[in-house]
């Protein structure tokens, strides 16, 4: 059907809005001058500085540790939870509890955990951030897997039992493969959210070496240098590469599935 050309105005405006600031960041990362605002010629020096900045490099490492750790927790527990909620209970309350961290403002979870960790006199560190990220990440995994489950057909499991498979064989050979795309999507979401999470990490990291968002936050608070632009450009490049690689992989996966 024909659609109005007028719709294209907000459509393109959205993309310009999303990408113009990012483009500015990238251009300014090649700034030869010291200022974050005025371009004074081309230089790669900020990339050099970035590579030499231990805090940022350690931040990257810590962020990855936290993201991997919380994704593992969230994926395992979230998947189990989703299956349990979908198959073994009809409780609306449990449903709500499992979804709560996803719609709770970060800040509320952050102070809750701060208070709680303080109460039990825990020494904070990367692991307390991992535990904290596990909370909301699990909610997202559970939500995604549940969507998948609610679309799934319980009769598949019945068919498997009917064909002579026991409960364990059925779970492993039918249920899990069915859920796999949901689990992968959920894990990816959990990982992405953890990578970018700042508030909760900020409140629960204590004196440990900070994650990248915290490093960036304190860098920005102490003034802006084009080094941050260089970091942004590199993060962007990594994301683009990851997306393209991901696309390729799913394409290959799909074409395999066609055979």
């Amino acid at each position: 059907m024909r659609r109005s050309k007028l719709l294209y105005v907000p459509f393109w405006a959205t993309y310009v809005f999303l990408y113009a600031p990012i483009a500015v960041l990238v251009v300014m990362s090649f700034n030869a001058g010291e200022s974050a605002y005025t371009y004074e010629g081309f230089s790669l020096k900020w990339y050099g500085e970035l590579a030499g900045d231990d805090r940022i490099m350690n931040g990257v490492v810590n962020t990855l540790i936290v993201a991997v750790g919380s994704t593992v927790i969230a994926t395992v527990l979230g998947t189990l939870l989703a299956v349990g909620l979908a198959r073994y209970t009809r409780s609306k309350l449990l449903d709500a509890v499992s979804l709560m961290p996803a719609v709770l403002p970060d800040l509320v979870l952050a102070i809750g955990l701060l208070v709680f960790y303080g109460m039990i006199q825990l020494t904070l560190g990367l692991y307390s951030v991992i535990l904290a990220h596990g909370v909301f990440a699990m909610a997202f995994v559970a939500a995604v897997v549940r969507t998948r489950l609610s679309g799934a057909d319980t009769s598949l499991e019945e068919a498997s039992r009917d064909l002579g498979a026991g409960p364990v064989a059925t779970f492993m050979r039918i249920t899990l493969p069915q859920l796999a795309p949901g689990i992968v999507a959920g894990a990816l979401l959990a990982f992405t959210l953890s990578l970018d999470e700042f508030v909760i990490a900020f409140f629960t990291i204590g004196n440990a070496e900070p994650t990248l968002p915290i490093v960036i936050y304190s860098m920005i608070r102490f003034g802006v240098t084009p080094k941050i632009n260089a970091l942004a450009a590199i993060l962007l490049l990594v994301s683009f590469t990851a997306v393209i690689a991901g696309q390729r992989l799913t394409k290959i996966g799909e074409s395999r599935a066609q055979d």
């Binding site: 598949l156 039992r161 064909l163 039918i174 493969p177 069915q178 796999a180």
Partner: protein
């Protein structure tokens, strides 16, 4: 062999099964026939072990079935919704049940190959279910349940998605299996023609209850209740009271000729049923018959259906005639039948 005794099941305030008892013999081809929502699938699910009855017992050769886990029952169920494993190829789907029995791979491959040949899907063995048409999927489901050669095979609407030609092939195939392998079949369908052409015996369900269990021809020709008479095949029903001569006494039409199925006390409320193909359309000047005028003529290929509006009846009388009917709409006719072709039964059952 399979004995179902007093099985009931309710969901909330829906009574899906209400005291169902059936006995199905070894090697029999048994059909469950009934309108949508009458409890057919529920009964199969109870036999297969996916539903627990509120009351009643189910035994197979005298052994209690209900206490067995589904995967321990020597029964295959073909699901109404197919329930194919979407992540496995056609061949893998079919092999799944055999692999669970830990058969040698060589044998699995061979039996899968054979059954795919049978259902005409050898060429599609390595496709995924999503790449098949509806009819092809149904055939995979069929193959998957028959390949295990269970003692009891439960089929829930196994052929509904197939077009006329393929359907006929599959019907022949099922009959062959029954004869060669000696499997007992319980087939659910809402298609009366299919039930009648396939089954040794048919149970007609309504509202969670068994209304009649009989061989196809008996069911068609000697329905024991108005429900069965009306549901199985088309029928023309006339209400009245049982008359002395075997027919009925109708308020509007006077005496109508017929043959009572069971002894009926003269004067009891009764119903007379005549099949469309037993109706003769006579000239309007014929001596005998109910006068009416042709309302509609529909050509159905081999037969034509003629609806005749008979004053005094709300629904037109339906007659089936061979070939293309030569009558035109509005023609005056008389509708009549032989006493032996009309069945009389007690009303209100």
């Amino acid at each position: 062999m399979l004995k179902i005794d007093g099985v009931s099941r309710t969901f909330g305030d829906v009574t899906a099964l209400d005291g169902v008892s059936l006995e199905i013999g070894q090697g029999e081809f048994f059909a469950l026939l009934g309108p949508s929502g009458c409890g057919k699938t529920t009964l199969l699910r109870i036999i297969a072990g996916f539903e627990t009855p509120d009351a009643g017992t189910v035994t197979l050769d005298g052994d209690d079935l209900l206490s067995l886990q589904p995967n321990r029952r020597p029964i295959s169920l073909m699901f109404q919704s197919y329930a194919l494993f979407p992540h496995m190829t056609v061949a893998k789907n079919v092999a799944y049940g055999l692999e669970r029995e830990r058969l040698p791979r060589q044998e699995v491959r061979q039996r899968v190959g054979e059954v795919l040949e049978t259902v005409g899907l050898s060429a599609h063995a390595s496709r995924k279910p999503a790449q098949l048409s509806g009819g092809q999927r149904q055939r995979v489901a069929l193959a998957r349940s028959i390949v295990k050669r269970p003692r009891l095979l439960l089929l829930d609407e196994p052929l509904s998605a197939l077009d006329k030609k393929v359907r006929a092939d599959m019907q022949l195939e099922l009959k062959r299996l029954q004869h060669e392998v000696g499997i007992t079949f319980v087939v659910v369908t809402h298609d009366q023609e299919e039930a009648m052409s396939l089954a040794d015996r048919i149970a007609v369900f309504d509202n969670g209850q068994v209304r009649q269990v009989d061989e196809p021809i008996a069911l068609y020709e000697r329905p024991r209740s108005p429900f069965v008479a009306d549901f199985v095949g088309a029928n023309n029903l006339f209400p009245g009271v049982a008359g002395g001569s075997g027919g009925i006494e109708s308020e509007t039409f006077g005496e109508l000729a017929g043959t009572p199925l069971t002894e009926l006390e003269p004067g009891t409320e009764a119903l007379l049923a005549v099949r469309p193909e037993k109706i003769e359309l006579a000239d309007e000047n014929a001596a005998r018959g109910l006068a009416g005028s042709v309302l509609d003529v529909s050509f159905y290929g081999g037969v034509s259906h003629v609806s005749v509006d008979v004053p005094g009846r709300a629904k037109p009388v339906l007659a089936a005639v061979q070939g293309a009917a030569t009558l035109s709409v509005g023609a005056k006719v008389k509708v009549r039948w032989d006493a032996g072709d009309a069945v009389v039964m007690a009303a209100g059952q």
